[in-house]
Symmetry: C2
Subunit: 349 residues, 2 copies
């Protein structure tokens, strides 16, 4: 399995809370002009004149959202930041600032926290987000990450979940189901490793699906791509819990229904190969798997030509008048009702 | 001890994540005109034109920051919100929005989460803060609360820790050490209860110190009081970790020193009585106890007459040129150096 092979261990308690914060934040450089004051006071200061502020929070909990036996801490930090940046992209906005809370037990060393922070910093650097504050504390057991992201957008650019109209085209960026295939692969190799600790993990050639699971990239680029195409979605959401669950969110918020087509769902070839290996219908991975962090959005039918021209966007269906009901036409012509079998953190106990 | 006597128990898993969020947020009403969109989308939307945005995050971890054997869940929620609102007051700003993350194990029922949320809502109502988003998830063990608060202030009103000058007067709102006395009292009664579960807790007549510990009120009122007096602090911080620790923060950020006088420290009579009962010097409770959530700030000497006239503010010393060094003149005329013996969450393991 992928393990922390760092053999140097510094106890966090030796630094104290303030020492730790100083240590972790000393190399942070501010890149956004809206960031007036970052780490080091009671609150960060942000100047957003002329823009509206977007705020979103996500918790990542050990044993619930991640398994440290195969999740490198740096990837964990990266993913925690990425999934929040994705929430801002889903509003058609740009992430600008981030505050991070970390609670961890004394089985974690200073080097472990540094790895998590390094991952967060890498994601922040890549997406030009300023890390402006945080709280680091101990826990009795386990690792908890809380990330709050602040973004901005012009009022007229913001896309809510509630704006879809009957007849709008339902579109998705990128491909689906790959993060779930990565998870299945990691879980399989963990089971092999448990049965035989001498076994080497068989992850060769699966870089794509593993990256999709361990180090997802939010589609912040899509915000610019849509703007360049002079295209404003009527509604938008990111795919964190699975396509089915997100479609139902759009339907509920917009008071519409939805019909999608199995043969329109976008898959990467490696996802299709792995689905065959795991004897799984690819659409199930897309609908229920989650964690793809692609954007799901609706556009007016009159924008069909604009959206058709954009590489990496698939039109998978359209919104209907059947409020709250979503259906999929399968490859063999059946019509099935979609239910929110999306991954539910509360049922994982 | 104070215990949850609620005998009805609803399992959270029966609701699912989205059902739980709907349930907890259905009665939220928006009160701030800057809150464009609250709970229910990928991110909240805030319009802060003409103001700067302030952001702060705090984690509260079971067994580290609170002990559920004597902390009612409603009080816990209230305190989690209050300590964050205090951070915004410490910037001389006004808290406007809040996002909350809760992770909890399956030993907590729906009623338990409702109690926490009720406490958060009570604090938000009292301080006119909109609860605009959150994330609720399970944990393998224990209860974790993450609160991020968004505030606003005019650029020229914001007080940083770094603005104190040599000769400035050091002032504190309210009284000190009472929250620590409340903690000592609760810990004593817990020990008695452990030794003899039939014993009734002896908390009679100690309402003030218990409220200070269990349900602290942030000094958001002080922001308006200072404004009404046409007084802008040169630096400000809230007292969460203890007076000594906060003074050293101001000294470090402002590149000054500080001298305070033991006989100028403000105490409530009940704190003095309890200090005698616990055989403790009251100044130690003020310096090292923490959690008073009063405001500590500096003003220019030329503002002496203005600050002197305000009820409930004590001038406890002045800033000096001895960078990073803080001293206290004791009641018997000795000069002792202050060290940050403030409560350190990381050393509590």
């Amino acid at each position: 399995m992928i393990e922390d092979t760092n053999t140097d261990r510094t106890e966090i308690s030796g630094l104290g809370e303030f020492g730790l914060i100083d240590h972790l934040t000393k190399e942070i450089k501010i890149v956004n002009s809206s960031t007036v004051k970052g780490v080091g006071d009671d609150a960060a200061v942000i100047d957003n004149t002329g823009f509206q502020t977007l705020v979103s929070v996500d918790l990542l909990v050990e044993g619930v959202h991640f398994d440290l036996s195969y999740t490198p801490l740096r990837h964990l930090g990266y993913k925690a930041a990425a999934v929040n940046i994705s929430d801002i992209a889903a509003m058609n906005g740009t992430a600008r600032q981030m505050v991070v809370g970390i609670a961890l037990s004394n089985r974690f060393s200073l080097e472990a926290v540094e790895e998590i922070y390094e991952g967060i910093r890498m994601a922040c650097a890549r997406y030009k987000v300023d890390l402006v504050g945080g709280d680091t504390t101990s826990s009795k057991s386990g690792l908890f990450l809380s990330v709050t992201v602040i973004g901005q957008a012009k009022t007229e650019d913001i896309c809510y979940r509630s704006g879809a109209n009957t007849g709008d085209l339902l579109c998705v960026s990128g491909d689906l189901g790959s993060a779930y295939m990565g998870l299945l692969l990691l879980e399989r190799e963990k089971a092999v490793f448990k049965a035989n600790p001498q076994a080497q993990p068989d992850l060769e050639g699966h870089d794509y699906v593993l990256e999709r699971q361990l180090k997802p990239e939010p589609r912040a680029d899509m915000v610019q791509i849509l703007r360049d195409a002079n295209l404003k979605p009527t509604s938008m959401i990111d795919i964190s819990d699975g396509l089915a669950s997100e479609i139902l969110h759009l339907c509920k918020a917009s008071e519409t229904g939805c019909q999608i087509y199995e043969d329109k769902l976008p898959f990467d070839p490696t996802t299709l190969n792995l689905a065959e290996e795991f004897n799984m219908i690819p659409a199930i991975a897309a609908l229920n798997g989650g964690e793809d962090y692609e954007l799901l959005f609706t556009v007016s039918q009159s924008d069909f030509e604009k959206v058709r021209k954009i590489d990496g966007i698939s039109i998978i269906g359209h919104m209907t008048a059947n409020i709250g009901q979503a259906h999929m036409v399968t490859n063999d012509g059946q019509v099935i009702e979609l239910t929110a079998q999306g991954w539910d953190a509360l049922k994982k106990n």
